[in-house]
Amino acid sequence: MTEALRTTVAGLEFANPVLLASGTAGYGRELAGVINLECVGGFVTKAVSPEPRHGNAAPRVWDFDGGMINAVGLANPGLDAVRAEALPWLAAHVKSPRVLVNVVGRTIEDFTRVVAGLDASPGFHAFELNVSCPNTRKGGLEFGADPDALRALVSDARAATSKPLFVKLSPTLPDVVSTAGVAMGAGATGVTLFNTMPGLVVDTGLRRPALGFGSGGVSGPALLPVAALATYRVTQALRGIPVIGTGGVRSANDALQLIIAGASLVALGTASMADPHAAETVVRDLSRWCESHGITTLADLRGSLEWPS
């Protein structure tokens, strides 16, 4: 692999900028023997909440022509099990990839509890806070849509760890630049753009939602331009902010779009579900592209988009 792909973000060195998004790599061991995890720059674990969560009623995953929709319901074994089993496995089996632990909660205290509870454990390098969850103390409004709640959440998490903190935002935010600014002001290291887009797939035969939960999060190729624009706007407004571009990436060209728009790292989601080797292919093709275009460091590409005057 070309040295050009090496990427340093928030003091963490990634062998390449390609990550597996949360929910597509489990806690690592689920994919052992299916793909070579050592090929990717890193991955984000499935969510961790203070208590175990069984998630929503099945079906929780559905594909359609434009991508997929899911309403898993943040199913996870909970903080204690992740600390006792998942993280030790990661520490023993994952060498090169940087691991980000995805954190969810229903209250600010939930987030802080998970961050504080895992902070001293081995096997991971950073946190990703999923602030698209509804704040149960505020009547269901997403943390990310409430600047005061977001500020308090990130601030409290920052007080609980010195590790890098990425905040994963929703594509439905009315002003993503402002929200990213709030997160950074409260101590975030960077942002992940984006989570899935709320949506509905109807089973016309049954006249019911295809998913057991009803609505779900849409992901797939159509979200790439959405993530690219947000990445560009956020990195232009908040110079130097690390962005993990996530949304619809299926190829090296897709990854390059986000990097040129300003992303430091790029995460694959839906593409990895359809083709588990998609990330490996993107890494290989990125490497070849850099070699064929004389690119010696991705830093020369990052944020190099020339906007029409």
Binding site: G23, K46, G55, P59, V61, M273, P276
Partner: protein, 70 residues
Amino acid sequence: MSERLSSQPRATTDRRPSSIVFLGHAHRLRRRTALALLSSLTACDYDTDIDNATVELNVGDKLAAQGAIP
């Protein structure tokens, strides 16, 4: 569901598919791979919950529709 995956040991009469269509009509994955990916998404252990995996994947309907079961 016209066909269901089974957690029973494979036998000569077993009609479980060795590959299944998953998330994209053009994609055909080994059964084990598809379940690993689904497990990555849902945090479930489908070795012990294969019926649930069948529901999650909508496997039976897809296989029947595409004539994938020999």
